[in-house]
């Protein structure tokens, strides 16, 4: 599987948009070279035959951990909003979206 593409500047802009990162043109150019360089390391994975292997998402073997739905102490409202840049009473405030 040596068909991994080389990124171009449009790709970098698109990734930045997906990642919600406002980058300067200089940053995009810098990332272009670095990302291609770093991604070249991942070609090593092609040397592992994974055709018969499942994916591993976690290594503990634990599945569906349930607990009783019990009322317990939780954070106070003033604590929840204590680090919010903007809030009014019990909700976060954001710019108008509609």
């Amino acid at each position: 599987m040596n068909d991994r593409p080389v990124l171009n500047l449009d790709d970098v802009s698109h990734i930045a948009q997906l990642a919600r990162l406002k980058l300067s043109t200089e940053e995009e150019v810098s990332f272009l070279g670095e990302l291609n360089s770093v991604l070249s390391m991942t070609e090593a994975l092609d040397r592992v035959d994974t055709s018969d292997l499942p994916e591993t998402h976690n290594v503990t073997g634990l599945v569906n951990i349930w607990r009783e739905d019990l009322a317990a102490e939780t954070l106070l409202e003033e604590d929840v909003f204590s680090n919010a840049p903007r809030h009014e009473s019990s909700h976060f405030t954001i710019p108008k979206t509609l």
Binding site: M1, D3, R4, L7, D11, V12, I15, A16, L18, A19, R20, L21, K22, L23, E27, F31, E34, L35, S37, V38, L39, S40, M41, T42, E43, A44, L45, R47, V48, T50, L53, P54, E55, T56, H57, N58, V59, T60, L62, I65, R67, L75, L76, D79, V80, S82, N83, A84, P85, R86, F92, T93, I94, P95, K96, T97
Partner: protein, 493 residues
């Protein structure tokens, strides 16, 4: 008598219990040393007043015969990735420059319940993104063995705090070597636990399927004592195990039965500093003399493990760090702008200003490997290679009890030496294979190498099967009875 701040956990407990010293004296000795050695930049935030108050409270409990545990009154430092109620928690990033957590991480809560005294929050690469602390918004820590060199990372501040005796013990966090590599670079002990052994609740997430919480200490026995205090099931972290917590300190008291110790040749391959290989072979000889059997083995998939690790780590960190949106907490353009701008701009500008270049790079890489069209080639492929890594370790542990390996392929390097991102990533080649398999690894002092007139520490790691922490600590404690490398202290005072 040497200064109180130089005590190990075992020694501090003895002296507190015998009433030879008070927690206040011990805590003040650490705080004074932190101030005296400020050029090492081990801490982002020192909680001096809180620490002294906690120490006085501990002394009052002891006077009343109501100590909470043997660790009551023992001062410690913690990586700034752990939420500490009322004490600023930055994860090394300007993104969280003014973040005051309203709750404690579970590790912090458990240590508080044991009466341990929090000294402050240590320097780290932002969000764990780095292997040198050079990616810390509050400046890097300096290696006390040679202050022109890095202490390793990302838990570099905690390692320096232990190595320079600024605390009695410390806590770090290891996603791909962030406890072990700084331990190796500073002649200290660091334990990367089995995934799920210690709760991740309240630790600022880097990569959630790889993150582990563990002790950084002056001796193996100290690591055992601290692990016992922080390990165990936590309902707030569903990935923690319900397995009982062993009496780790007790297993350190006697030598383990003769073990078969595997030496994977992939960890001693070309590219590893030959002086480090010589130190590791010397360790193998001494362990043989102590009755153990050394067996050279091969785990071929280890060569591809670093690529697997990074793809998963980038992917998970890009997802985890999506929470920093400029809306809920953390750096936000909403704080400065009178008129509300477009919501997208709040996200994109807050994140661009709050994250460092390296953190943005990893978010970009993670976003890419998860994006439509590339998911199969990168992320899904990495998850399958992860299975091969798990199988590789399982096969190895059919033949051997424990694995021995160097922690790092290179000696502690100089500031600026690994400016190229790929070069920095490749320095993690020996530590990153461990986390995808979820197995534990104990890093501990192995020897010294002289370079440029400086004596520099070399660490080794003992790797075991899942939940074999007791076996690793027992073998590590035996090593520290055979070999006294760990008692050497840096002379840059």
């Amino acid at each position: 008598m040497s200064s109180l701040n130089t005590l190990s956990v075992v020694e501090a407990i003895e002296q507190l219990e015998s009433r030879a010293i008070t927690s206040f004296e011990l805590t003040k000795a650490c705080l004074d040393e932190i101030e005296r050695r400020s050029e090492l930049n081990a801490f982002i935030t020192v909680a001096r007043d809180e620490a002294l108050a906690a120490a006085e409270a501990s002394d009052a409990r002891r006077a009343a015969g109501k100590t909470l545990s043997s660790l009551d009154g023992v001062p410690y430092a913690i990586k700034d990735s752990y939420a500490t109620r009322g004490v600023r928690t930055t994860a090394g990033s300007k993104m969280l420059d003014d973040f005051i957590p309203p709750y404690d991480a579970e590790v912090v809560a458990r240590l508080r319940a044991h009466g341990a005294v929090l000294l402050g929050k240590t320097v780290m690469d932002q969000f764990g993104h780095g292997s040198s602390t050079e990616n810390c918004a509050y400046g890097p820590s300096k290696n006390p063995w040679d202050t022109s060199r890095v202490p390793g990372g990302s838990s570099g501040g905690s390692a320096v705090a232990v190595a320079a005796d600024l605390c009695i013990f410390a806590i770090g966090e290891d996603t791909g070597g962030s406890i072990r590599q700084p331990a190796s670079f500073t002649n200290t002990v660091g334990l990367k636990v089995t995934y799920g052994r210690v709760s991740r609740y309240g630790s600022v997430a880097y990569a959630s399927s790889l993150d582990t919480m563990g002790p950084m200490t002056k001796t193996v026995e100290d690591a055992a004592i601290v692990l016992e205090a922080i390990a165990g099931h936590d309902a707030k972290d569903a990935t923690t195990s319900e397995r009982s917590v062993d009496d780790y300190a007790a297993v350190c008291q006697s030598d383990p039965k003769p073990l078969t110790i595997g030496l994977p040749r992939e960890f001693l391959a070309d590219g590893v500093d030959e002086r480090i290989i010589a130190v590791i072979r010397g360790v193998a000889d001494k362990l043989t003399a102590a009755g153990h059997t050394i067996k050279e083995i091969s785990i071929p998939v280890l060569e591809q493990a670093i690529a697997c690790y990074y793809i998963i780590a980038w992917a998970e960190t890009s997802s985890n760090l999506a929470r920093y949106d400029g809306i809920h907490y953390g750096h936000s353009t909403l704080k400065s702008e009178k008129t509300a701008s477009d919501l997208y701009d709040v996200y994109a500008e807050s994140r661009a200003a709050g994250f460092s270049t390296e953190t943005k790079r990893r978010i970009m890489l993670g976003t890419y490997v998860l994006s439509a069209g590339y998911y199969d080639a990168y992320y899904r492929k990495a998850l399958k290679v992860r299975t091969a890594i798990v199988h590789g370790f399982e096969e190895a542990f059919k033949d051997v009890d424990v694995l021995l390996a160097p922690v790092s392929p290179v000696l502690p390097f100089k500031f600026g030496d690994k400016g190229d991102p790929l070069a920095m990533y490749m320095a993690d080649i020996h530590t990153t294979p461990i986390n995808p398999a979820g197995v534990p690894s104990l890093a501990l002092p192995a020897g010294f190498v002289t370079e440029d007139g400086c004596e520099l520490p070399v660490g080794m790691q003992l790797i075991g099967q899942q939940f074999a922490e007791g076996q690793l600590l027992s073998l590590g404690a035996q090593w520290q009875r055979i070999d006294l490398t760990h008692i050497r202290k840096p002379e840059t005072r």
